[in-house]
Symmetry: C2
């Protein structure tokens, strides 16, 4: 494989607020994220030559996002290819990946990747539909939820590596501390370990405050080949590497795949791809900030190890030492993470890239990671099966 | 835009039978199409470096195909990126397009594009779910069906261009005549104009026999860069051009978009892209066989004009003159088309590429188009809004 992806630049970023956005339609979300990113890039809609839409769950929310039409129509960008990709929680990263490939291939010169999900608008009928869909699914079984799956990992981490219940809760405390500084986050309230532990149980040991909310939101990036960056107009960031991997299948006992429920092979494989492309061998030293997929607090701890920021079993030391808090050696989820920002599934991966790019451009305001030169985003979905890693750099 | 796509070769093709395949699961369909294509290419699953899955409607059928996991798991291809794309009837072509971009970008050296759809397995619950989904959709309205939409075009063609009801039916007669020769087609029975006209009305003037069936099936192609073709092992075909466009939005009166209901702008735009890449200026002379998206008979007639095989209003002359029948100057849908093969939505675009590649390799048996050197595939979906055109060549 020849491509190291360094030839691709992000020249514009934008996102909506994330939250219970009953005042926004799906189309409104698309328009606000896209117009913000296009304005940031200094381009008009007519200059777009191709676009990728990421929406993961049209059938859960407002039944939008089943094709590229739902990006083309609200923006009025007709006469160009618009692809919809869906890959559970890695959908947004995969939209960016396919856009990067098209640019590198020379199919287009200016590309958009936009992630959007509207999960909070559920009519009574929709809820009934969803329930019926789940109950009629041949693989449906009680407890087969994201929370239930990740709770198994939490218990194993506690049992095998001496991770305490408080260590897990500390991830939520840290990320909510960060989220207060993000005016686009769904939740902007500090919390304590005691509050996390005392909140309602979801899947033992994970409580409500170990869990990200479901959320509405959209995020967008505009991309070109690095050779086409106009430095007088843009403050670009460059893509150093993109990894995406489906590595394991569902991490559930009935697949009997030998999993120990202490690591996500998909994350390790995606990181290996991205690190190879970016030439990274010492991630802790060579990366300045990270957004990881903290859909549940425990996932952030697991991911420290899977991304190689520490050795196996040592994730607890990073959270105890405040290494991953703003001001620490490797700030993780200074946006507030999914725990604060919420998780509009198709949008999350793009939102993370917007966040990291904003830091690499030195424009992150009160939560700016000082001297950030290289950042990483991570997603994991299909509980444990699909992971993406993107590495961004403010130098080429 | 720099890329003319001639750098991409298809080195393996495969498909399942198309039909009411109650004996196949979704995974069975994936495995049969993929293993046939990999065997044809002479590669093992471990040699795949990336894959694209096209399934358009997971929520209508068996709830499979929402992510790349549903391609990775049945094949056991873990540790590589697998993307699911969905773009209504252009999904299959778009999977091929994104795979071609990844190869041209150098992200991978061996790629798979596989389309699969299982539409015939609907439990009673699924039917209720589907009905509730449709009824709860904010845009649901009576008559807003594919048949209803294309029927408007049929009436306009008859009114404006002197197309007769028999001309429209002749498309179905021709394609069913071809379908008899295709042992993978859903329907393999000749029919007459009188039978088409006498079959039950679906949306005036289109009858049941003007309409393609819903169908189960899968098709797969294996792709590499042209420089990596091993001519001792492969009988490759090359991609001359790929166009995909969302051009118009829903072609329905309430969008008041000035449509005359006589042409699909999306097809015209996608064809213009593909022709430019392939250097085609006289499509009728330069193309030897075509698979067009005859979801309803009328669509084939409209598409003759949109693809530039005749002038506006002259499609009827091609069908009357048997120009597009096997043995004619430009055989169209010698596979039997969607009308005979059926329409497993995510699979159809890939099935067409398999068909054209088989002719370009001289392996199409009794329905072989003689001396076929260059072929075209066409899809249109989201009734009228999304179109794809792929041009294949047996020389590089």
């Amino acid at each position: 494989m020849k491509n190291n992806k360094k030839n691709i630049a992000i020249i514009g970023v934008g996102s909506t607020p994330f939250g219970d956005l009953f005042q926004y339609s799906y189309d409104d979300l698309v328009r606000e994220a896209a117009s913000t990113a296009m304005k940031d890039a200094g381009i008009d809609p007519e200059e777009l030559q191709a676009a990728w839409l990421s929406t993961a769950f049209p059938e859960i929310g407002v039944f939008k996002g089943r094709s590229g039409m739902d990006l083309a129509e609200p923006l009025g960008i007709f006469g160009i290819p618009v692809t919809r990709v869906s890959n559970f929680c890695a959908s947004g990263a995969d939209a960016i990946r396919n856009a990067a490939n098209a640019l590198a291939a020379g199919e287009c010169d200016v590309a958009m990747a936009l992630g959007v999900e509207k999960l909070r608008d559920r009519s009574p009928q929709d809820s009934i539909v969803k329930m019926m869909v789940e109950l009629s699914h041949p693989f449906y079984q009680k407890g087969f939820t994201a929370a239930g799956t990740f709770a198994v990992y939490a218990n194993r981490m506690m049992h095998e590596y001496g991770v305490s219940r408080e260590d897990i809760a500390s991830v939520s405390v840290k990320n909510h501390f960060h989220g207060v500084m993000n005016d686009k986050a769904h939740y902007r309230t500090k919390c304590t370990i005691e509050q996390v532990l005392a909140s309602p149980m979801v899947a033992d040991p994970l409580t409500l405050m170990d869990s990200c909310p479901t959320t509405d939101g959209a995020a967008c990036v505009i991309m070109v080949r690095a050779e086409d960056v106009d430095n007088s107009k843009h403050k670009p960031v460059y893509i150093d590497g993109i990894g995406l991997s489906i590595s394991t299948g569902w991490d559930l006992p009935f697949f009997d795949s030998g999993h120990k429920f202490l690591s996500f092979q998909a994350t390790r494989d995606a990181a290996a791809m991205a690190y190879r492309q970016a030439g990274i061998t010492r991630p802790m030293e060579e990366i300045d900030l990270v957004e990881v997929h903290d859909c549940f607090s425990i996932v952030e701890l697991l991911t420290y190890e899977d991304l190689g920021f520490c050795r196996t079993g040592e994730a607890k030391d990073l959270i105890r030492g405040k290494v991953t808090q703003l001001g620490g050696e490797l700030p993780v989820n200074v946006s507030g993470g999914l725990l604060s920002c919420g998780h509009p599934v198709g949008a999350t991966g793009v939102r993370m890239v917007v966040e990291v790019a904003t830091h690499l451009r030195g424009q992150a305001g009160v939560r700016q990671v000082k001297d950030a030169k290289r950042g990483l985003t991570h997603n994991i979905g299909g509980p444990g099966a699909i992971a993406s890693v993107i590495i961004l750099n403010n130098e080429n």
